[in-house]
Symmetry: C2
Subunit: 149 residues, 2 copies
């Protein structure tokens, strides 16, 4: 933990075109209930940035389908710039990031910046924030750092 990271992946995020449809099919496969969709917070709360530039994206998310040691989340990007829109447009549907909780966002982002890793997307929510680190070129998938205040 000296570098601000840890090994506890708690989330797998899947980018899809139609989150209601894909989550229903996922849930049907495993016999789960589909949690209600949520829309990401508006600009004045999220202060979202995609590759350093402010964006008004409000993607639709099906959160927290617990699958044992991890949660599977699904996200449907909207028309505004986002790391998820970029992923869908360039790679199609698929897993865009693995997520860990971090106790100190600055330390974790700084540690990865020291390795040449940039922030692909970042935003706040009520009670915390997340930074999606552009690690596809290093390990085939991005890493989301999530922090609770």
């Amino acid at each position: 933990m000296a570098n601000g990271l840890n090994k506890n992946i708690f989330q797998v995020l899947i980018v899809v075109k139609d989150v209601q449809k894909s989550a229903r099919q996922f849930a049907d496969t495993f016999g789960l209930d589909v949690p209600p969709a949520v829309i990401l917070d508006p600009e004045e709360i999220a202060h979202a940035k995609y590759r350093g530039k402010p964006t008004r994206t409000r993607a639709k998310v099906i959160p927290f389908m617990n699958m044992g040691g991890i949660d599977v989340e699904m996200i449907e990007p909207d028309e505004h710039p986002s790391i998820w829109r970029e992923f869908l447009d360039t790679k199609g549907e698929g897993v865009s990031h693995l997520g860990i909780w971090v106790p100190d966002m600055s330390e974790a982002v700084g540690y990865l910046a020291g390795k040449g890793v940039a922030i692909g997307h970042q935003a706040s929510f009520v009670g915390g924030s997340y930074s999606i680190m552009d690690m596809r070129g290093r390990m085939g998938v991005d890493l989301m750092l999530k922090h609770q205040d």
Copy 2:
């Protein structure tokens, strides 16, 4: 479990071009040791099939990097047909499947077949077998069923 499936995802598989390089970068990020690479079993043990047709693929794998509730594995396809070769050629590097253990392979495969899901790739190993179910169209990512005899 009545359908032969369960909710315990234990594995995330990442397809990469150079498994030694990507695993080293992954391990370096998190401060892990890189496990030794293994080559998939030869034809006479694996009896591998890609979309129903026998294949002699012997992909290179870095197995079992434990990340809390899940293992991250990385795989480098070889030149023979495989679901991983297909993934790399069509989508580039990325997460190709999530994996669960199943107690009864026939029951689990049969349950998914009843939903119109085909086997994308299957093989045996000493002590067990796996079937990678073609679920990208349903949930954005494939599902591997793994069975220990």
